[in-house]
Symmetry: C2
Subunit: 160 residues, 2 copies
């Protein structure tokens, strides 16, 4: 006999189904545009770029547009209260550099990224595309702001 | 006849039930400890406090411990590349001040806070307790990091 209710028993509760839907969300659905500076840029230029673009994290690229470093507001603030001239100090002196950069790819799960942001205590990850051995092109930026947006969408039941 | 399935029809889908559970999450379940500086503190002292406590937002209080301002990393970075002496500049010159501070209370919904963080483009809200007309004591701090943690908990189905 067919059950007389509107939902069939799948062995899963509704919350499990939503949890699975959340686990299927990917980086590309929520990522932001990356803001990059060249490795020869000065710390001063990086700070100006951060304000103009209104972001909390900058990615540093080489001449071939490959990722070589990451700069957080914290890195720039630390440098700015130091004694050195910001105009003559290259960002490469203060950035977090490869291979110590935590990255992700566009098809990675949002939840994996959220876990990495918490675990590593960072605000943003570069979204990259592998170009060669230890060579990554930056194609996006995913941040705690994006994660907050995901949470709001879930509460509005706006996952497609 | 009783339906032969394990779940009763409530007129709500499972995802609606989880959505409701998420909407019931409150600030007090996720808030962090606030880090405060006095309004007479220098910008330099505030920067040092921000690094020692490893936070992205400081709350500024008066002698009665009431909230008078908020300082973001961005505010401090802007000040630090200015021409003035950071040791002699009081934080009151650069802080966002009352009544322009977006606040929340411990029983507020996490989702309302998430929406405010997105809408106002800020990283953190002070959790306050009203003490009088326009007088608020700071009792907590809630940030995009806390929101990211909520998301991870939801995906692990760890809402109690």
């Amino acid at each position: 006999a067919r059950p007389r209710v509107g939902y069939f028993y799948t062995g899963k509760t509704g919350t499990q189904l939503l949890t699975e839907k959340i686990k299927k969300l990917t980086v590309k659905e929520y990522q932001s545009i990356p803001v990059v500076v060249e490795e020869s840029s000065s710390v001063y230029d990086a700070i100006v770029t951060m304000f103009l673009e209104d972001v909390g994290t900058l990615f540093v690229v080489d001449k071939n547009s490959l990722l070589v470093g990451v700069l957080s507001r914290k890195d720039l603030l630390r440098a700015s209260i130091g004694k050195q001239e910001l105009e003559s100090m290259p960002v490469s002196v203060i950035m977090t550099r490869m291979p110590n950069i935590t990255m992700c790819e566009k098809d990675d799960s949002i939840i994996d990224v959220a876990s990495k942001l918490i675990e590593k205590q960072i605000d943003a990850l570069p979204v990259v595309k592998k170009r060669g051995e230890q060579e990554y092109e930056v194609i996006g930026r995913i941040t705690k702001t994006n994660m907050t947006k995901v949470l709001v969408d879930i509460s509005h039941d706006e996952l497609d």
